[in-house]
């Protein structure tokens, strides 16, 4: 099997976000998607600290401490941008106004439960931020992650063992091994890494899967 690189994962996520979409990209891996959005599409990025129309990072020396993203990194505004307070910003999220959000994850269950905010470790300091609001709010909730942990355990699971962020909220999972749609009939595999068999993918994930790659290709 040839695993997809992070660039390739980000490229596939970006490919699936249509022109005109309002999108929130979570902290970490998902921020990479911004660099891969097709230039012929107008896509409006939201950041939960109160900005729509977020632009890329400023040039060195042009950082403004009052203009940051949810990761507290300096950003810029695009023409047409708007600022708003936190309650309005979360109305944007919780109220179902965002078309897409892309989140990282520790685990996703076969029914779309998401765990991405807390390892649950006894000495871990919890921090949740906007993760739970994003998980339940956007019209399409996409997860972007490595399929396995560093120890080789599948992060797609029958039931999450980490504390949940949201119940049944994930619609699609993009990974370095395969992409999955979460459906009432179970996880449908829509893309697989080269030289990977469906049987091998089922063995890696340890959960029942439906092979839909042919349907998607056709």
């Amino acid at each position: 099997m040839k695993r997809f690189s992070r660039e390739q994962i980000a490229t596939r996520v970006a490919r699936d976000i249509p022109n005109g979409a309002y999108v929130n990209l979570g902290i970490g891996l998902p921020t990479m998607v911004a660099n891969h959005l097709p230039r012929d599409r107008e896509i409006i990025l939201h950041t939960e600290n109160g900005l729509l129309g977020m632009g890329p990072a400023p040039e060195a020396g042009a950082e403004d401490p009052d203009l940051i993203n949810a990761g507290k990194q300096p950003v810029t505004t695009l023409l047409g941008a708007s600022f708003f307070h936190t309650a309005d910003s979360f109305a944007v999220m919780r109220g179902g106004h965002l078309d897409y959000c892309v989140l990282g994850a520790f685990q996703v269950s076969v029914t779309g439960d998401l765990a991405n905010w807390h390892t649950g470790g006894p000495d871990a300091i919890p921090a949740v931020g906007g993760a739970m609001d994003l998980a339940i709010g956007a019209k399409h909730v996409y997860v972007m992650m490595d399929l396995q942990t560093k120890k080789g355990e599948s992060k797609i699971v029958e039931r999450c063992t980490y504390p949940l962020t949201g119940v049944g909220c994930v619609n699609r999972i993009y990974t370095d091994v395969a992409d999955f749609d979460v459906t009432p009939a179970g996880l449908r595999v829509i893309e697989m890494a080269p030289e990977l068999s469906f049987a091998e993918l089922e063995r890696i994930t340890g959960v029942p899967l439906v092979d839909a790659t042919a349907t998607v290709a056709a």
Binding site: T47, D64, I68, K72, H85, G130, L164, V167
Partner: protein
């Protein structure tokens, strides 16, 4: 004549008593009223309950208040950051109580307090550890959690400009919690970079109407550059 202008940060925070609940604006350091918090540290009030999105950065502002051991409880959404070592140490030592709230619930609970709402049902957090023990209800096929308002005795916020009636405009993403905290506290104290004459703020563009603000103090722009961009993840 209505004149909410006070001469100094010390005067502005003078009557914050021991045991008060104090909202502190800001998302990270953007919108953090650092000079008002410094004045609160100097003033000496103890056993405070703090409501803020984060739990302080490095050793300034809110982190300095925590370090001075004036806070018994903090209600926030994202305490853990790369530069939150003051909070981390106190929390691990059991010297600081934490109520962790999803950011949207934090904002809406603050907004609800200001708007006179008794409680509200939200889908955020349903089925997670942060909703444990809370009332839930299924409405039109969707599950919700009952959340209550967060009120405060004082709110310390930062804005760009204000006038003697307390009208405020903000700057970029430093607006964040300022407008909702202003409405949720019995006494809101705003530090602004510039106090302008009545009428200089276009009424169409006022973000926080002065009725939500009780005191306003001018802190001219500290031409501070961002020390380490992106350091606070």
């Amino acid at each position: 004549m209505v004149n909410k202008i006070v001469a100094s940060t010390a005067e502005a925070v003078a009557n914050i008593g021991d045991g008060a609940t104090v909202m502190v604006g800001g998302f990270g350091t953007a919108g953090m009223p650092a000079e008002l918090v410094d004045a609160l540290i100097a003033q000496g009030a103890r056993n405070l309950t703090i409501v803020s999105n984060n739990a302080g950065n490095a050793e300034t502002g809110l982190a300095a208040l925590l370090k001075a051991q004036r806070v018994k409880k903090i209600i926030c959404s994202f305490p853990r950051q790369t530069d939150s070592w003051v909070f981390d140490g106190l929390y691990r030592a059991g010297e600081l109580e934490l109520e962790l709230v999803p950011q949207g619930n934090l904002a809406e609970r603050i907004r609800a307090a200001g708007a006179g709402i008794g409680a509200f049902y939200t889908p955020t957090g349903y089925g997670t550890p942060l909703a444990e023990g809370k009332e839930t209800r299924r409405i039109d096929g969707r599950d919700y959690v009952l959340e209550y308002p967060i009120r405060a005795d004082f709110a310390l916020i930062k804005a760009l400009r204000g006038d003697r009636w307390g009208n405020l405009v903000y700057r970029k993403t430093a607006r964040n919690f300022g407008p909702i905290m202003a409405s949720a506290a019995k006494c809101t104290i705003a530090q602004v970079r510039e106090i302008v004459n009545l009428g200089d703020l276009d009424p169409e563009n006022v973000v926080t109407p002065g009725i939500f603000v009780q005191r306003i103090v001018e802190i001219p722009a500290a031409t501070r550059l961002m020390a380490t961009p992106g350091a606070a993840a």
